[in-house]
């Protein structure tokens, strides 16, 4: 059901501090507090290509603005997908958005998963909870260029089976012969017949060549720490492990100071970091 757009207003495309208008094409509920918005540009705004791992600042008129990872397919940037968890005023307002509502978007910002550097390597994607959302674009890219990579393994841990993100896609990926998908939960429900336990255990028994694998990890910092340790125990160098960090963000362009993590600005030196580079600060409290 197409809607004709009004004549486009002139919108300056070159100011990263100003949000551009996008319209909600679809709003679907994923789990209890998580939902996905599919957005398209309106009123002269343009879609922007993005790299997997990058984020946008999403703005709800009169409420506020938050950083949200892009969770769509980088090969289809005209369809902007964001999976969002309702944890504060702005994200709760986003949870109420419906088809036809407008959202301000500025971005994309930040560093990306090194999908090109990973050519010829086994690729291990490790995600916890909503961490699967920023990982998904990397998986889309890898599957689109499947022949360029070695083994592809997806390890996903969720709180309970009902909190799993993208269950239908997980089943589709698992049914492919060229992808290994292993899913575990912290707490099972009656019907759950799958693994119960921590993501790190999956790392221990996963089929990949530790010497040549590159791992991308996204999830709570505690989980990242233990997953990186488990990888190291198997023989994967910390310089082959990449993690996505999160900090308070306001400007997203490295001038407001809020997102600092040690010497780095997560908005422009991250959110994707090579683990050996940040390891020093990673274990430190309150940094």
């Amino acid at each position: 059901m197409a809607t004709t757009e009004p004549a486009p207003a002139t919108v300056s495309a070159s100011d990263p501090m100003r949000p551009e208008p996008f319209v909600v094409r679809q709003a679907i509920k994923e789990t209890g507090d998580t939902f996905t918005l599919t957005l398209a540009p309106v009123a002269g705004a343009k879609f922007r290509p993005f790299a997997p791992g990058q984020f946008n600042m999403l703005y709800v008129f009169g409420v506020g603005e938050v950083p949200i990872s892009i969770s769509g397919d980088p090969a289809r940037p005209e369809i902007l997908v964001h999976t969002i968890r309702a944890v504060g005023a702005t994200t709760r307002a986003m949870q109420k958005l419906q088809k036809g509502d407008w959202v301000g978007v500025r971005g994309p910002f930040g560093t990306a998963w090194p999908v090109d550097q990973a050519h010829g390597h086994d690729v291990i994607l490790i995600a916890g909870g909503i961490g699967l959302a920023p990982i998904r674009p990397a998986l889309y890219h890898v599957l689109l260029h499947r022949g360029l990579y070695g083994r592809v393994v997806v390890l996903y841990g969720a709180r309970t089976p009902r909190d799993m993100l993208y269950p239908k896609e997980l089943r589709e990926w698992r049914s492919r012969f060229d992808v290994v998908v292993d899913v575990t939960v912290d707490r099972a429900t009656m019907e759950w017949q799958g693994s119960v336990g921590v993501v790190t255990k999956m790392v221990q028994r996963s089929p990949f060549d530790p010497g040549s694998a590159m791992a991308f990890i996204c999830g709570p910092e505690v989980m990242i720490r233990y997953a990186a340790q488990a990888l190291q125990q198997r023989g994967t160098a910390e310089s082959s492990v990449f993690v996505s960090m999160e900090r308070n963000m306001k400007c997203a362009v490295g001038v407001c100071g809020h997102c600092q993590f040690g010497p780095w600005f997560v908005c422009k030196d991250g959110p994707v970091f090579r683990y050996d580079r940040i390891q020093r600060f990673f274990g430190m409290r309150e940094v």
Binding site: R18, P19, G62, G104, N248, C251, F265, M284, E286, V287
Partner: protein, 378 residues
């Protein structure tokens, strides 16, 4: 014809001619003036607004004005204000948006930037402006608001003749002589009968202004007198900071027990970040009218000392006072190097003076260095 690089002498009583020339070129004068018991920066009308015959006494948590026995126009160190008030203002409207039936569009703030002349920029402050240039102009994102204000500002620097008890610019290599970056730099010389300003011309813009006021070329006696003022100032600093290996020292001492010690005194009042001329952290606030149809996005000064500064859903990363003080000092003296290629500290001493409990950045750095030397365990 006056050229950049020339040194001239202008009589102190001709300073109003300099101000007149600046006004003719469209600049609004901002400079030091006495107000509420302090020497603050404000719009000034002429030389009569300057704090002639005043000096400042500063120490940890202490600031007083005192009368001088001469009529020096710039015979003080620095006040609480920094020039970032005008280059990186405390509140700036980024864009405005109106909501209509379809949605909304955000329009940038198109107000033209003011044209200022900054009168009395201290060498430490000049260095601080150059540091903030790296922050706002040196990265992948160039802040257009900062750039337009910066380009239009005329910098009239004044070298320091009367450093205060909390000054340590020589330790940071930023003074007491003004480094590069000024349009004009003055050194005030009061000697027997004369009251002159030895003027160094920095730029074409500065040369043009100097040309328009009564002056004579500087002779060796003038240069000598100016140098003597600076040499005396250099020997008269109230504090010092040992910067040898300081960055790496702080990187090693993230878990030093000293931070929790400081936290017992620190009120997290954020005074230090407000008066510091290089601190740039700001937050973004959206203000919507009561009908919910018009909104303004503002950038507003913020401080890493606030609890919410590092808030991520679920809580703040830095909740303890020690972690927040550590963030400020390690940013200022260590991680700033990584980020911008220089130290974040210019040795102006404001953070020491305006801290209600007198926490001293030079003392804290010294304590951490001594702590490591004495083998205190991190």
């Amino acid at each position: 014809m006056t050229q950049p690089g020339d040194t001239l002498v202008v009589e102190a009583r001709a300073l109003d001619a300099v101000f007149g020339a600046l006004r003719e070129r469209g600049h609004t004068l901002l400079g030091p003036t006495v107000r509420d018991g302090a020497i603050v920066l404000a719009e000034i009308g002429g030389a009569s607004d300057l704090p002639a015959g005043w000096t400042d006494e500063q120490d940890g948590g202490r600031y007083r004005l005192r009368r001088r026995d001469d009529g020096a126009l710039f015979g003080y160190a620095v006040g609480p204000h920094a020039w970032k008030r005008w280059l990186h203002p405390p509140a700036v409207v980024r864009w405005r948006a109106r909501r209509d039936a379809r949605g909304f569009v955000a329009e940038p703030d198109t107000a033209p930037p003011p044209r200022h002349a900054f009168v009395g920029v201290r060498p430490c402050e000049l260095a601080a402006i150059l540091v903030q240039d790296r922050v706002f102009l040196g990265g992948p994102f160039v802040d257009p608001a900062y750039r337009s204000r910066r380009e239009s500002a005329f910098l009239l620097a004044v070298s320091c003749g009367s450093p205060a008890g909390t000054c340590f610019c020589p330790s940071m290599g930023t003074g007491p002589k003004a480094g590069p970056g000024f349009d004009l730099a003055l050194t005030e010389v009061i000697d027997g009968g004369r009251h002159d300003l030895v003027v160094e011309v920095g730029t074409e813009r500065g040369a043009e202004v100097a040309e328009a006021v009564p002056h004579r070329p500087a002779e060796s006696a003038d240069l000598y007198a100016a140098r003597a003022v600076l040499a005396a100032a250099e020997g008269n600093m109230g504090r010092s900071l040992d910067t040898e290996g300081l960055k790496d020292l702080l990187y090693r001492r993230y878990e030093d027990p000293r931070w929790d010690e400081v936290a017992k005194r620190c009120l997290a009042c954020a005074n230090c970040t407000m008066v510091c001329p290089t601190c740039f952290c700001a937050t973004v606030e959206d203000e919507t009218d009561l009908q919910g149809t018009a909104t303004e996005r503002r950038r507003i000064w913020d401080s890493c000392f606030s609890q919410e500064f590092s808030y991520v859903h679920g809580g703040s990363v830095r909740t303890s006072g020690g972690a927040r003080y550590r963030q400020w000092i390690t940013h200022k003296l260590a991680t700033w190097h990584e980020q911008f290629g220089v130290s974040g500290c210019v040795g102006c001493g404001r953070c020491i003076t305006w801290c209600p409990v007198g926490i001293d950045i030079t003392a804290e750095a010294r304590a951490v260095r001594q702590g490591e030397a004495q083998g205190s365990r991190p």
